[in-house]
Structure formats: C-alpha cells, structure tokens
C-alpha cells in the first residue's frame, strides 16, 4: 500500500494527520514491523505519456488529437507541457491504460499493428484503432480486459 501526494498537499498537512495516515497503512498491511520508506518522485510529464500513447498506437499526432477529441494545436501544447488538460483527462487516462495493456499483450510492433487494424466483431466490425477514432474507447478497453484476464466460461 502507498500514500501518494503532491508536495504542496504535504506542506499543508499537520504532523498528526500524516502520522494517522501512515498508522492506518501499517495496520492494513498487518505485518509486525513493516519498513516505511518515503520516495520523492517527479510526476510523469504529460508529454511523456502522450509519446508513450503514440509509440504504442503507431499513429500520427493528428490521429491522437482525433481520438482525444481535441485540436492538434491543443495537443501540441500538452505535448510540450505548456498547458495541462482541464477536461478530457478521463479519456486520456483510459487511452493510457489501453496502451499499457496493448503493449503487454502485443509486445512487437508487427503483432500490435495486426491487432489494431483487424476488424473485431465485438466492436461492430470496426478495427480497434478505427473504434478508438469513433469514440468507442470503453468498448476497446473492455476488449483488452478480456485479453488481459480471460473469461472463465
């Protein structure tokens, strides 16, 4: 188990509140003398996450903008970490999760390309990539979850 918080949140916190939070975790892990370590890490910049999405889907930036439903200009600003998205964050997170599963299920570009471009019956015969462009993000995510965990019929 872990606590993740931004530095500004930590600074606002009273020492007692922090102790209470950590105590809760110690009780939950149910080990007699657990080791507590504190890592201070920089959040992954949005630009890096977008580059990961591009690498996994193997498409152009304008196609990523189409999938996210934003203008290429907005996407460019996000990529350069000039602005952060105020909306579309859910979509962005879902697509990131889709890409994480995709990369694990299809580690080679060739295999991933084959999967992304083949028509799929559960996506009304759209290919997963076309389905993403049509806004069927949840459907593609569900398809990948079946691949990730199977279904025990």
């Amino acid at each position: 188990m872990r606590i993740s918080m931004r530095a500004r949140e930590f600074k606002k916190m009273k020492p007692r509140e922090l102790k209470q939070k950590i105590t809760k975790i110690i009780e939950a892990v149910n080990i007699s003398d657990p080791l507590i370590t504190i890592d201070v890490t920089a959040p992954t910049p949005l630009g890096e996450n977008l580059s990961f999405i591009k690498k996994v889907l193997m498409i152009e930036w304008k196609e990523i903008a189409e999938i996210l439903g934003v203008s290429p200009r907005t996407l460019q600003r996000w990529r350069r970490d000039e602005t952060t998205p105020k909306e579309k964050t859910d979509k962005l997170e879902k697509i990131y999760n889709i890409c994480t599963i995709l990369l694990a299920a299809y580690p080679t570009e060739r295999l991933r390309k084959y999967f992304l471009h083949s028509p799929e019956s559960s996506l009304s015969s759209w290919s997963p990539l076309d389905a993403l462009k049509k806004g069927k993000i949840d459907e593609v995510y569900q398809l990948l979850l079946v691949i990730a965990e199977g279904t025990y019929a």
């Binding site: 994480t100 599963i101 694990a104 299920a105 299809y106 580690p107 080679t108 060739r110 295999l111 084959y114 999967f115 083949s118 028509p119 799929e120 019956s121 949840d138 995510y141 569900q142 398809l143 979850l145 079946v146 691949i147 990730a148 965990e149 199977g150 279904t151 025990y152 019929a153």
Partner: protein, 192 residues
Amino acid sequence: MLKSIKGEYYRIVLEIYPPLSTSGAEARGGRWNKPGEPALYLSFSKKGAAREVVKHYLEKTFKIPLKTCNRESIEKIRLKVPRELWKDVQQTRFRVVRIECEVENVLNVGEEKTRKKLGIDIEKLTGSQEITRKLIQTLKTKFKLEGIIYPSSLNPKEKHLCILDKKVLKSGKIKKKSSTRVSFSELISLLE
C-alpha cells in the same frame, strides 16, 4: 447443497495485470455476472485457467473462433496464422497466480446430484450466458450465494469457481499466494 470451501485456485493474467482485479468481468459481464457486477473467476487447475486465457487471447488476436482449446485446435490456428506473427506471440508474458480463498455458501453445479435437485441440465450451464445469468439471479436470492462451482464449457471435466459476493471480494478471504511468470508457449504446454 451449500458448502464452505477453503483452498487454492488458479488465475492466469497478462504479466502487468493486477492479479486479483475484477475489472474485466465487471466491465463486460461473464457467465455468472452481468456487466456492472463484480465477480472473480478462478479455476481449480492451472490447466483450466490456461485453456480459458489461451482461447480468448487467440480468438481476439487472430479472429478465429475456437469451440474448444487444446493442443490440436491450437496447432490448427498456428498453421493458419502468418509464421512471423506466431513467433511474435511467443514474446507475450502472462502470470500464473495461485490464490487462496475461503468462501461460504458455495453451490457446486458441477455435481450431478445438485443439478438434479435444482432441475438444471448440464447443457444449460455450458450454453448461452443469458440463461446462466438469469439462473444465478434466482440462485442468489434463494441461497444467499457467495460463489458457484461449475464445469468449464471448454472442457466439462475441468471445474471453475466464480466468487460473486461483493463483501467476500473485498475481504481478506481472497489472498494471492504466489505468482509465476510464464511465456505463451509455456501456457500452451500446460494444456498437454
């Protein structure tokens, strides 16, 4: 008819996937749960879990429906698929997860005597999911079921366990005991 069970069961997931996650079954629904209802599907053996995962992986990847999943049917797919893609598939890594469970009020519809008492035939259990999803609603109300043991539709000799109760799923009664990284070819070899 109802019994309490305590034992070890198996699940196979993609390497990066959380071993106890119910997200997939909850999102799409399964044989015993409707979309939106959490459920954890496990198998009594590594072989049973491997059969389900390999089937879905191959079907969803190569769009070739599989009625069963054994060495013979996999060999048929291998011959249809371009050689380089088949080679690539071998790079995919999964995890065989051994899970310890303690569940009460479990109905074993894999047993003939239980099916007779309930008036259910085996075809119903391995047929359409619409039928089994309706059936489980009735059984849940009648028996306050926490889980169900049922024969696999891919190989009725293999048994699966579905844990349906939300409280049980969130409790500490379901624990990961071990997790082993395996390649796709190792999964296929489990089916021998």
